[in-house]
Assembly symmetry: C2
DNA sequence: TCTAAAACCAACCCACGGGTCGGAATTCTC
DNA sequence: GAGAATTCCGACCCGTGGGTTGGTTTTAGA
C-alpha cells in the first residue's frame, strides 16, 4: 500500500520539477538530465516511472497544466452572478499573479501551444483539449450573461470567447519582457472598454 | 565585384531556407544540417558565411523577419486617411494571408518571441525591437484617429495599441490548428466591435 | 593564362541527450 | 529476518548537432 504512495510521490516530484523547467526553458531546450539533476535522481529512476520524455510531458499536460488552467481560468468564472464581472475579476487576478511572479515566463498553456503548434500532432491534441475546455467555459459564461440581460443578445458568444482568449494569450506573452504591471493595467482598461461595447445599453 | 554579389546571394539563400525551417519547426528543433541539406550545401559553406547558428539567426531576424513585419503590419497603416479603417483592413489582410497559407505555423514574430521569452537576452533584444516598431506605429496611427475626430480623445492610445497587438498575436496562435477561416471571421467581428466602442459617437 | 583570393567540400571532433541494462539498495510481506 | 518485489543507481550505447580544419574547386582580375 505504501509502495504505491511512494511511487506516486516520486513521479509527482519529477513532474513538478519537469513542468517548472519546461515552462522556464522550453521543452526542446530542457533535457531529462536537467530535471534529474535538480532532484538528485538518476536516469534509471526516470525511465522506471515513465516510458519516454514525450510520455512524461503528456502526463504533465494532462495533470498539472490542465489543473493549473482549470483553477485559475475556468473554475473562477463558474459562478452564477454577473458573468462579465466574473471574467474581469478572473483575468485581473490571473494577470496579477503573473505580475508578482518573479521569473514569469508567460502563460504556460500558451507557451507550450506555441512550441508545438503544427509540429507535433499528439501533444497538440492534449493541449487543444485544455484550450477547448476553457473556450466552452467562456462561451457558456457569456451566454449566461445574455440570459441575465447583461450582455447584448445579438453578439455571438463564441466570437466573444475567442476574442477574450486571443487577447489574454497575447498579453501574457507580452508581459514577460515588458513592465508587466503597466501592461496589465493597460490591458484591463481596454478589456473593460470591450465589455462595455457588448453590454446591454442601460436606458437610464 | 561579382564576388560580393555571389556571396550575398548564397547568404540570402541560406537565410531564406533557414527562416522557413525555423518558422516551421522552431529554432531549437532545427539543425544547421537540416538547412544545408535543403540547399545541397555543406557545413563549410555555412561557417564560411556565418559565425555561428545564433549569429545566423540574429541576422535573419534583423533582415527578413523585420522586413516581413514591416511590409505586412506597419507599412499598410501608414496612410493618412481613416486610421481605424486602415488598421482593420491591415489585420484582415494579414489574417487572410494566413488562412490561405497552406502550412501556416502562426505569426513569425510571435512564435520566436515565445520561444525565447525570458530565456535569451540577446535574441529577445532584436525581437523586441521589431515589436516596439510595430507598437510605435500603431500608437501614432491611433493618435491620428483622434486628431481626425474618429477616435474618442479620452482613450489611451498606448493601451489601445497594446490591446490590438495582444489580440492579434493570440488569434494567430489559435488559427494554426483550428479552422483559420472561421476564426478569422469571428475575430474580425469582435475587433470591429471593439473599435466601435472607442470611436467618437456620431450624433446624427 | 596564370595566380591569388573567395567559395565551398567533407571528414573529423566532441559534448550532449534520449534511452538501455545489469545490478545494488530499499521496502514490503510473511 | 528471509525472500521477493519495488525502486533506484550509474555506467554504457549511439545518434545528433554545433563547430573546426585542411584541402579542393571556382572565380576575379591582370
Amino acid at each position: 500500500m505504501k509502495k504505491e504512495l511512494k511511487r506516486l510521490a516520486t513521479m509527482n516530484r519529477m513532474q513538478k520539477a519537469g513542468l517548472a523547467l519546461f515552462y522556464k526553458k522550453g521543452y526542446f531546450n530542457t533535457s531529462v538530465d536537467d530535471i534529474l539533476k535538480e532532484l538528485g535522481l538518476s536516469k534509471g529512476a526516470f525511465y522506471y516511472h515513465f516510458e519516454s520524455k514525450e510520455d512524461f510531458f503528456v502526463k504533465i499536460i494532462d495533470e498539472l497544466v490542465a489543473h493549473k488552467v482549470y483553477s485559475s481560468l475556468i473554475e473562477p468564472i463558474e459562478g452564477h452572478d454577473n458573468p462579465v464581472d466574473l471574467i474581469m475579476r478572473c483575468f485581473e487576478e490571473a494577470l496579477e499573479t503573473a505580475v508578482h511572479n518573479e521569473m514569469d515566463s508567460g502563460f504556460v498553456l500558451s507557451n507550450f501551444i506555441n512550441e508545438f503548434n503544427g509540429k507535433h500532432e499528439r501533444i497538440m491534441g492534449h493541449l487543444n483539449e485544455i484550450l477547448r475546455n476553457w473556450e466552452v467555459n467562456l462561451v457558456s459564461t457569456v451566454q449566461r450573461g445574455k440570459f441575465n440581460g447583461q450582455i447584448d443578445r445579438h453578439v455571438d458568444s463564441e466570437s466573444v470567447a475567442l476574442f477574450l482568449m486571443s487577447s489574454y494569450m497575447g498579453i501574457r506573452t507580452l508581459m514577460v519582457e515588458t513592465a508587466p504591471s503597466a501592461l496589465k493595467y493597460r490591458y484591463m482598461t481596454q478589456l473593460r472598454q470591450f465589455f462595455k461595447s457588448i453590454e446591454v445599453k442601460q436606458h437610464t
